[in-house]
Amino acid sequence: MNNEYILELKDLRVGLRSAKDGKNIIKGVDLQLMPGDKLGVVGSSGGGKSLTFSASMGFLDQRQWNIQGESIYKGQENILTMKNEEREVFRRKKLGYIPQNALNSLNPHMKIIDQMSQNISFCNGVSKHEAKDIAIDGLEFIGIEPTRANLNKYPHQFSGGMRQRTLMAMVLAKEPEIILADEPSSALDVLNQARSVELLQRLMERYSFTMIYISHSPGMVRKLCNKIIVFGQGIVVESGDADEVLDMPVSTHTNNGVKISPERTPILQVENIWKTFDSKEKPVLKGVSFTLYEGEILGLAGVSGCGKSTLSRIITGIIPMDSGNVLFRDREIPGIGSRDRSLDRFPVQMIFQNAIASFNQDYTIEYSLKEACIASGMDRENIDEEIRSIISECDLPIEIIKKKPTQVSGGQMQRLAISRALLTKPKVLIADEIISALDLSTQIKILDLLKNLAKKRNLSVIFIAHDLMAVRRVADRAVILFEGEKVFDQEPQKIWSQEVHPHVKELADAVEKVNLNLKNDED
């Protein structure tokens, strides 16, 4: 027996006692894990991933399951032959289990903070009070502000992603040696999956633990794990270092879905936004979620009344949402008047549809620009220079700043609005139908300007429009809303593909009818 391994599986076989043919589902698994390893377990459904590890941790009832072989912890004890009390202690103190569906694992009748404290105090043996503090730290770590409102919430009041991360926080609060994560993000949408991954990465930096991460997404496994085993039909089909296995797939199992998207960090997360205006009965937004990645231009489109503008105002914090979250790099964006809102913590700016109205018409443009500079903390001496450089970058003559908004054309005003936003060095820009009121040639110019600026400064942009052609011209990805729900979230070209929501098809057809040059588009 080798004392180095924190977990070793020797010829593990698992089968149902009731199975008539006596065949095993898991037909002999061998595995060695060093402390600190992060093992990714992949394979198609039914391959035996979850079963193997549930068995190895002693979760399976041996009256129903026939388990043979050994699962050795720290080279000393076979988990499978532990006495019940011993196994319980092991599971309580050494093992952390993150299951697939968080909602089922949380008590709906208890507030989240209470559950966490209870769990922590039980597992770590600390007092309830200490446990509560640890729980609060945990919540903060996963990006949930420990406000009064949040601490009093019940599981169903958290979004799916938040619940999952809460579970992770609970597990990690007891600092286990081994973490078994059984498809923890499969039930979540893409954005939440990404966040869970991020959280785990951060945790890996903080604590050292061994992790077994079961997933059917090779991409996530690649991000988190240094080793991989691939399951297929009850046996280990491949194993080795994560990068090697994924880059040079030998068997067909790994081939499935190896196309891993390039490194993208989410910068803005919109989670499950609901909003109903008091005067209306129907909700304007019904659980809209999407992610904005760093450096990308996301086109948000849809017909009038679909909720785009409301969503943009909720994202920036101008109006409050009924439920849901908007997170900038994992921090909830506070509302516009709030004290926590500052330009460097939340560099999110908006460019309005009516550019002239978005400036105080009694003051010169120079005044408004300087005002923005001062608010962003620029030094006095640099202000003139900064303004000069941004004005020229936006292709405007410098004298224009001496004028008042009403003396300037719509297109120029829109550029000035962009300049003002840029002066505060934002990371996220929300352009709310900024070109709708302009003529075609000006529209194109502004679109190109926006695209250039975004790429130059690595800005992330949410470009709201009802014109799909504009979206196609400028966006890397498109999200389409219909009656308050998201019906499309892919690259703009896919709008014209076949497998889309009927409303999207309607829009695509309508655009084709209006724009005869669709096929000859220069890009």
């Binding site: 516009i336 500052s342 003051y363 005002e371």
Partner: protein
């Protein structure tokens, strides 16, 4: 704006002048010169006590303008502050502001003025303060409504997004736009303040009935309505003209106008 500068300038100038220069002591009684018509010495003639009416008018003007200044200052300054804060911040401030303005408008200013003079003596400033306090509500209501409307406008949203500090927003982006309508309101109310003061002095508010107020003059000359109506003419005209000047000056007042607006004026 121009008419404001001119008219207010004139009034203010006269106000200062009349404080410094005294033409003839209006209290000088000379029974022998009663009811004299217009002459070099008495540009407006004399009254039943031989007092120079012009001097009486001038002093009355001075005291009336004092009342006006005090009332306007109090009601506008506090009305604007209260209105802006309650409109922008809402919540407790709004509740308080509304309560205060409701109360101040319910309490009859007249009665309050009488009570105040009983306590503090009948001088124009006191009366002005009381009248001003009673009018705060009107300014605050209007300002609050305007501020609320402005708060929803895009330029305010934009400026809030830029994290410009609230004091700056209130002072630079809201105040200039609410002052105009407040001043217009003031122009309309100036007349009623002048009239209120005249009424107070008419009923003999002051213990010193020889104090040269327009209202007092009206009281003292009322018996001569049929015989010598011209006596009543002067103070009445004074009230009318003063009120009209304010009304005219501040009608549709705007802080600044762009060249285009001036073009279409």
């Amino acid at each position: 704006m121009k008419k404001v500068y001119i008219s207010m300038g004139i009034i203010f100038l006269l106000y200062i002048l009349t404080m410094i220069i005294s033409i003839q002591n209006p209290k000088t009684v000379n029974m022998g010169s009663a009811f004299l018509p217009t002459s070099h010495e008495h540009l407006l003639g004399t009254d039943q006590f031989g007092r120079d009416i012009l001097s009486l008018m001038i002093y009355g003007f001075n005291r009336t303008v004092s009342v006006l200044l005090a009332a306007i200052a109090i009601s506008m300054i506090f009305g604007l502050i209260l209105g802006i804060c309650s409109g922008y911040f809402g919540g407790a401030v709004e509740v308080f502001a509304r309560l205060f303005s409701d109360i101040s408008m319910i309490i009859p200013s007249f009665v309050l003025a009488l009570i105040a003079t009983a306590k503090f003596g009948a001088n124009p400033v006191t009366i002005g303060i009381v009248l001003g306090v009673c009018d705060i509500g009107i300014y605050s209501n209007q300002t609050e409504a305007l501020t609320k409307k402005l708060k929803d406008s895009e330029y305010i949203q934009a400026v809030e997004l830029l994290c410009i500090p609230k004091t700056k927003i209130l002072l630079r982006h809201i105040l200039p736009k609410v002052v105009g309508p407040a001043l217009t309101l003031m122009g309309g109310k100036a007349g009623s303040i002048v009239l209120a003061y005249a009424s107070l002095t008419f009923i003999g508010l002051g213990t010193d009935t020889s104090a040269p107020d327009w209202g007092t003059m009206l009281y003292q000359y009322r018996t001569y309505l049929i015989d010598r109506p011209i006596l009543l003419l002067w103070p009445s005209m004074g009230i009318l003209i003063l009120a009209l000047i304010f009304y005219y000056a501040f009608d549709n007042f705007k802080m600044s106008r762009s060249r285009e607006e001036l073009l279409y004026e």
